[in-house]
Structures are given as C-alpha cells and as structure tokens.
C-alpha cells in the first residue's frame, strides 16, 4: 500500500499536489458543488425570477415600447379564458389515456417477461428501442404512417377491419386526432412503464409466494394480495414520471398534429408556444408559464406524498 501511495505521489504533478493538500474536506465539498449550483442558478433560477417579473407586465419581446406594470391582469385573463380551458381539457385527455394504456400494456408485458422464458432479454431490448429515439424525428415520420390511402397505419387497420383506408384520417379529423397522439405516445413510452414494473416484479422475494402456497392461497389471490401491492410503489413512480413528462409534452405532438385540427390537440405547451413565440405576448405567456409550473409542482408534491404513504405500508 505504501508503494501505491509513493507511485501516486510521483504521478501527481507537484503544483497540483501542493495546491490541494491544504484543502479541507469542507473546502473541497464547496469547490465541487459550487459550479453546478452556479450554473443552475444562472440558467434555471434567474430565468424563473425573470419570468415571474415579466408576468406582471405587458411586455412584448418583438416590440420596443414602454413596458407597463399590469399587476395581476395577465393571471386574471388566463384563468377566465375559455380557450385555455379547452387546452387544459385536451391536455387532460392526453394525460389520462396515455397513462391508462401505458400502465395496462406496460404492466402486462412486464408480467409476461417476468415468466423468464428463453430470449426475454433480447425481446426486452427490442421493445425499449422506441423510447430512446428523438420524439421530433419519430413524430414527423408518424405523419407519414398516418396518411390516408398510402399510410401504413391506415393500411393495416383496413387490412384487419375491412374499413376503406382512405375513409378516415387519423390526423385530419377532429374525432380521431386526440387518439392519434395517444397511440404514438403509447407506442413510444409503454416500455418505460414496463421496465419499472419489471424491476418491481423482480424485487418481490420468492419466500412470500412460498408462504402463500403453504397457506393454500390460489394463484389468483396471490396475484391480487402479493404481486399487485408489491409492484404498486413502482407503478406509481412510473405514473409520476409519465405524468410530468406528458404535462410538458411538446415535440412529439407539435410535429404530429401541430395542435390541430382546429385546436383539438393543442396541449398546454403548444398553446404556450403560440402565445410566447407567435403572438409574442411575452408578459401574458410568462404568467401562463408560472401557472403551469405551479400546477405541475403542486400536483407532483401531492402525488409524492401519496406515493410515500404507499411505500410505508
């Protein structure tokens, strides 16, 4: 060991060694943490404070006019705007259905993979591929799959149901567009829920099932009284992640539908982008952003409390 220390001392340039030898653990801790905190303050917190400030003004980033303080007027307008409530409804539809499908399919897949058949590792890797890809590039390509007449999606649907492939437009129709984005998001993100559920299933110790077997509990009962409760904290964590991500959803949907037709798939982020970077109502959009942030933060905190309660049980 002494040898090791000697060679280490030789390998260290003396200037560096001298400079750091005197440093206490405390100093090193601060030197190591400071750049990260500084960068996050500069690129995250400073802009957040700026946004709060702007939200009380009528500032427009594309004009050079006198900025006035308008107090809470932006907030008042947003909360009473019926278009924004429509946007919230579209977001809620997207959020709820993507979570429902992803949890159902993701859990089922994890449960099947946990049977440990041969080749399950290989298939798992194949299944997770979509979630790592660029949502923008993939979303754009899905518009091709969704083309009426020539699109592969329409062709496959018509192949199995006999419906004329040019008779429906997944993206162009008011009724189908909200489902078109749910389908693509489910395709992309089901593996995320699956992976987390799989980790949950694999964490259940075998002796619990053995004890249940001795008590002659049926497989069905074991599933509902052991498997589900033990996986639940994992499942809830997966839902938390998907919930936050899909509340922020922008790239995939903006390239699939652009928020249309009309504003049927105009999720909050897309709506916010229009206000901020197309209409250039910077002050108004800032207030909007703050409201969204408070909403996510509030909902997430309540949810995490519930999650911790489930974990304690």
């Amino acid at each position: 060991m002494a040898n090791l220390a000697e060679s280490a001392a030789r390998a260290t340039p003396p200037s560096v060694a001298r400079r750091v030898r005197g440093l206490s653990d405390r100093a090193i801790a601060w030197i190591f943490v400071a750049p990260t905190i500084f960068l996050l303050l500069a690129v995250n917190i400073f802009p957040l404070i700026w946004t709060i400030r702007l939200s009380f003004t009528n500032f427009r980033a594309n004009r050079n006019r006198e900025v006035e303080w308008v107090g809470l007027r932006n907030y008042e307008r947003i909360l009473t705007d019926s278009d924004i409530w429509l946007t919230m409804q579209a977001t809620a539809h997207f959020l709820i259905w993507t979570i429902v499908f992803q949890v159902l399919i993701g859990f089922t897949l994890a449960w099947l993979i946990n049977k440990n058949f041969r080749g399950n590792d290989f298939l798992t890797t194949m299944i997770v591929l979509p979630m790592m890809l660029s949502p923008a590039v993939v979303g754009n390509f899905w518009t091709f799959l969704y083309q009426p007449q020539i699109g592969l999606f329409n062709y496959i649907v018509s192949f199995f149901t006999g419906v004329d492939p040019s008779s429906f437009e997944m993206i162009g129709s008011v009724n189908l567009a909200p489902w078109a984005i749910v389908i693509v998001d489910t395709w992309m993100w089901t593996p995320f829920v699956m992976l987390i559920c799989l980790a949950g299933l694999r964490s259940i110790p075998e002796y619990i099932y053995e004890a249940a077997e001795i008590d002659r509990a049926s497989k069905w009962r074991q599933f509902w009284t052991i498997t589900i409760p033990m996986v639940l904290p994992f499942l809830m964590l997966a839902v938390l992640f998907r919930g936050i991500e899909n509340f922020k959803m922008f790239d995939l949907v903006v390239l699939l539908t652009g928020g249309g037709p009309g504003s049927t798939t105009e999720l909050t982020s897309i709506n916010l982008k229009r206000e901020a970077f197309e209409k250039w109502r910077t002050g108004y959009a800032s207030a909007y952003a703050i409201i969204l942030f408070v909403t996510v933060f509030g909902l997430a905190s309540i949810y995490v409390k519930a999650l911790n309660k489930v974990k304690e049980r």
Partner: protein
Amino acid sequence: MSAYSVTEPTPRAKWAAGILVALYALITMIPLLWIIATGFKSPADAISYPPKVVFDPTLEGYVNLFTTRTRQTDEFLAANPPETWYEEIVRQYDMVIVGPSRYGERFMNSIIIGFGSTFLSVFLGTLAAYAFSRFKIPLKDDLLFFVLSTRMMPPIAVAIPIFLMFRSLGLSDTHAGMILLYTAVNLSLAVWLLKGFMDEIPREYEEAALIDGYTRFQAFYKVVLPQATTGIVATAIFCLIFAWNEYAFAVLLTSGNAQTAPPFIPTIIGVGGQDWPAVAAGATLFLLPVLVFTVLLRKHLLRGITFGAVRK
C-alpha cells in the same frame, strides 16, 4: 434451478408468454423498420398503395438528403453526361446536383452541441455528485431537490426568459449558447445518477488511501474515479442521447447557424410536400447511433430513465 420453486412458471406458460411478448416486439418494431425501408425506396414506391414491402432498393433518398438539385434543359443535360453514380440517379428526373444540402451541417451541429454539453455536464456532475455522496453539506436534501426540480418546468416556459437572456448576451443561435443550455438541463440528471453510482463505491477504499497519505483530492481522482468509470460512461451516454434528441429549445433558440438535426429533418421538402425517402434516410442516419447506444446501455437503462430512483 434444480430445487422446486413455486414461482417457476410451467413450460407451457413460458411459451405462451414468450409468443405474446414476441408479437408485441414485432408490432413495436414495425414503424422503425418502415423508416429504414422507406429510406431505400424511390419516391414512387414510398407512396404506392398498397404499401410495398418488397421493392427495388435505391439510394435516391440518401442522394436527395445530402444534395440540392435543380431542373435543367435537355440541351444542358445532353452536353453534360453524368460522371458519378449519384449524378446518374438524379438524371432520371432531368435534374443536376448543384451543391450539398444543409443536412451535413446540421448533423455536425448535433455532434458538436451533443458532445460539448455532455462533456461539461458529466464533468461538473461528477464533482458535485462526489461532494453530495461523501460530505456533509448543509441543506443537502434541499439542494438535491432543487437540482431535480429544475426539470419540472415545461421547456417552452423556460425558453421565454432564456430567449431574452440569450438575445441580450449575444448567445442566440450560437453553439456556445446551446451547449450551456443543454449542460444546465442535463446537470440534474448527471448529478442524481452519478450520486447513485458513487454511493455504491465503498468508502473504505478512500479511507485506506487517506491513511496511506493521499490527499482527499488524490483519493478522489485516483481511487474513486476509476471505480466510477462504468457509471460515468453510462451517465454520459444518457446526457448525449438527451442533447441529441432535444427539439423544443433547438427550434426556438436556433435557426441558421447552430440548428441541430431534429428541427431540420421535418423540413426536408421535395416536389409537392415532404420528400419521404429523404426524410426517412435522414431519420435513419440520425436514429442509428441512439439505437446502438441503447443496446449497449441496456443494463443501466432503468436507472438512467428514472434519475437513479430505481436501481434493480
């Protein structure tokens, strides 16, 4: 497993499960395979009905992706016979190549910004993660939560003040600006993941080194860093994939100079709408590195996507 196990499924159950999962895997792969296939189709094959599974592969999509072309008169075409295979492909449509497209530039931008921000966030993240893992820091939990909470803002909301800030600092549409921004976004992931990896390295190694006369700093980079290599590489790949895939900031904050590939690919236009073979070719080249990385990363995937919350 030799001993009797109550959780071991019957062979028949295994078969059934295997077939169902294989079926799902097949369905989920169809869009990806279709992207790759469309890249090798001619425009006519790409939009034929019924969709063509068997077709004559051509490199037209790739040629169109990397070039800009213009239509020429018959006299010009007759006077200048094509010299290369790619010029020949373009000649079928009475066109000539007039120069490279911007795809190469955009791809390079993705590489520069991706690697630049990955290097910075992993470098800063490693230092911070070590400090968070080993030292008593006042308000540690609050700081760690603060690091994470920066991820809860919708990117568009963050983009409003960043846009104004970059405009006044002259960072709009520059590589430096995007590297800085992606570094900040990735730092939260890097700190959380790396802290998890560092927590797993036993403190005894460093303590032994300290007793042997190492300074704290030496112990960090001669003992802890080599042990953390796997974790650092995995974290770097996650940061790289995020920066590589990012769209919202890129589309709002860059245009001519520092634009990355994701906002560019959907704008590839041919005659009468999107040139799907070229789009698919661009997408294939862009997605391929991520597919390779995902396969390499599969053991750490779960950890990466949950910020280290689930470790398996």
